[in-house]
């Protein structure tokens, strides 16, 4: 079992990045906190962990995948957010603009394939290609291709959503 002091160090080092990764992945801070906690609980039960960061991100990704209902809730939440942004009668320019940005980004990221999305978000958390390959069970040589595809598709999706939003009557 991983000793408590090592777990504490792991927590201090990676909890923030893991929660950020999961929040971006799920769009739900509470769910991200829960899954991060569960991830560290599982780490605590491991005898040994090699490549700790990629292990944590891999377990977290698997937990996200297992939580199918959560993603459905997230979808509903996004729909709700979009409806709210469309129907608000008391606009607050700054917060609305930020909400729009975030809404667009979430919808764009949701349009990516799961592997592309995970690879991109892990890279944004600073994981190197070897770690991403281990976490997602990819060959190290294919990570660059996966990331380039993910980035291109993300921007294409974002731009199309932006154009779609711009075309809608205010």
């Amino acid at each position: 079992m991983v000793p408590p002091e090592r777990l504490t160090a792991l927590f201090a080092e990676y909890h923030g990045a893991l929660v950020r990764f999961l929040t971006r992945r799920l769009g739900d801070r509470d769910a991200a906190e829960e899954i991060a906690q569960e991830t560290f609980m599982r780490a605590m039960k491991q005898e040994t962990i090699t490549s700790e960061r990629s292990w944590l991100f891999a377990v977290a990704s698997n937990l996200v995948r297992d939580e199918g209902r959560r993603s459905q809730r997230q979808q509903r939440r996004l729909e709700l957010l979009r409806e709210q942004s469309e129907s608000s009668v008391e606009p607050e320019p700054t917060s609305m603009e930020r909400a729009d940005e975030r809404d667009l980004a979430r919808r764009a990221i949701a349009m990516l394939g799961e592997r592309d999305r995970d690879a991109l978000l892990m890279r944004e958390e600073g994981l190197d290609y070897d770690e991403i390959a281990r976490a997602l069970d990819l060959s190290p040589g294919s990570v660059g291709t996966t990331l380039s595809r993910a980035r291109r598709r993300l921007l294409e999706a974002y731009e199309s959503l932006q154009a779609e939003q711009g075309a809608r009557p205010a």
């Binding site: 201090a12 950020r20 660059g144 980035r151």
Partner: protein, 453 residues
């Protein structure tokens, strides 16, 4: 015939190079090719734009989210001479604001600091500071009397460390999610995080052992808890100790008496002495061992909230332990925050039911933000409490003359109350402060509600 040096690199290789993930030999080959190939140099510029654009879109996911600074280490690395990102183009930092707009991603909103805005901001900051100082002065005497009361209780039960320590000011402990230097200065907070995990395990073990106890009853096997309440309490106190020291399997082995959930939960937070002393002073008595309703909040309910680890903490201005009184059977309703003596504390809360019948309380008190999440229903619930002092967002501040200061504050209170009634979420800054605040594992015991009056 095309040599290896003349082969055009694929897009993945270019991204790997820009991400500094190629080894030296591969980088040399690519860089040599880029010296000769304008087409590939353009592809590099495009890839650089994709990387920067994607980073910005991902960063936009954090807008309004209480997430720590999101710049990953690899982006923070300063550009150096010979860096591929520098050598291949005019842009020094692929993620920086001067990135070539190869994409048409809309920039994030920016705020320009002008002299007029600075002066307005200064006035607003002073106004907010005055309001907060004035607001925070009021509960001081009450806090002092509550601390004195807690000290009295502790004096009757020296074994319980719960109330003896000075109250920890919320927000003073550094955040777990902060960067390495802050984490190094915050061993307490990291330990608290592990305790949160321990508390969750504790709750899980509690549910499992309760099921086991039911099975034992069917088999007519007497549990030790059924005939020895003091032993239960001691066993549960030991369980609480081992929960902190060894948060996993040790718990399950050490808590056979957890079948008596109320005693276990009580002792987990306070130990026997404090429980007895508090019970003697409190207007609230432990609820009879009626079966817990796992469904809705259908009638007025009261919960005694205690630290799961015996540490002192406050929820906003209210020190542990305290009582949460749920008066309304609604999906989102207000709750009163009371002292264990049944007096109204200087705070209120709203609550809402979440999945698996858990409850989420949100502190409503000017100058503070906080949450209290409670797990699955039962006589004893495990939970996590957070709170921190907060400042109002500038958009909420009404600027008036000095004479109208009280009116503007009334307006603010009215706005806060309206938000509460409407169930509106707390402002982003408050949410950020709340979620960044250190987590305090608590145990919550259902108690009888005293008659209001």
């Amino acid at each position: 015939m095309t040599s290896e040096r003349d082969a055009h690199p694929d897009e993945g290789t270019i991204h790997a190079w820009l991400d500094r993930q190629l080894d030296d030999a591969e980088s040399d080959v690519l860089e040599a090719h880029l010296q000769r190939c304008d087409e590939c140099a353009e592809r590099v510029a495009e890839a650089r734009g994709l990387i920067a654009g994607a980073s910005r879109v991902v960063a936009a996911l954090d807008l309004g989210e209480p997430v720590a600074a999101s710049t990953p280490a690899f982006v923070r690395t300063p550009a150096v001479a010979g860096d591929p990102a520098v050598a291949a183009g005019p842009i020094a930092d692929a993620a920086g604001p001067a990135v070539l707009p190869a994409t048409r991603v809309r920039g994030l909103p920016t705020f320009r600091l002008t002299p007029s805005r600075m002066s307005i901001a200064a006035v607003l900051v002073v106004a907010v500071a005055l309001a907060i100082v004035h607001e925070n002065q009021r509960p001081t005497s009450r806090l002092a009397s509550q601390a004195a009361e807690s000290a009295t209780i502790t004096g009757a039960a020296p074994a319980a460390p719960l109330s003896a320590a000075p109250t920890v000011a919320p927000g003073l402990a550094p955040s777990v999610a902060s960067s390495a230097p802050a984490a190094a200065a915050a061993p307490l907070d990291s330990t608290a995080a592990v305790r949160v995990a321990a508390a969750r395990t504790f709750a899980k073990a509690q549910r499992e052992t309760t099921v086991n106890a039911d099975l034992a009853r069917v088999a007519q096997v007497p549990t030790p808890a059924a005939s020895a309440p003091m032993e239960q309490t001691i066993a549960a106190a030991r369980a609480a100790d081992s929960m902190v020291a060894a948060p996993t399997n040790a718990l399950r082995g050490a808590v056979p008496g957890v079948s008596v959930a109320p005693a276990a939960g009580n002792a987990a937070g306070t130990a026997a002495g404090t429980a007895a002393g508090a019970a003697a002073k409190s207007a609230y008595s432990a609820a009879p061992a009626a079966p817990a309703s796992p469904t809705a909040v259908e009638a007025p309910q009261c919960f005694r909230v205690e630290s799961a680890t015996g540490t002192s903490a406050t929820w906003g201005p209210v020190p542990l332990p305290f009582i949460l009184a749920l008066d309304a059977p609604a999906t989102r309703a207000t709750a009163r925050v009371l002292t264990v003596a049944g007096q109204e504390a200087d705070a209120r809360a709203v609550f809402e039911r979440r999945g698996n019948d858990s409850l989420l309380f949100t502190l409503r008190r000017i100058g503070f933000t906080g949450t209290l999440a409670l797990g699955a229903p039962g006589e004893v619930r495990a939970g996590v409490m957070r709170s921190a002092p907060t400042s109002m967002t500038l958009s909420e501040v009404v600027v008036t003359s000095a004479a109208a200061e009280s009116a503007s504050r009334r307006s603010l209170r009215g706005k806060a109350a309206a938000q509460t009634r409407a169930g509106a979420p707390a402002p982003v800054a408050d949410q950020q402060a709340a979620t960044a605040a250190p987590a305090v594992p608590v145990v919550v015991k259902k108690v009888g509600c005293a008659t209001r009056g």
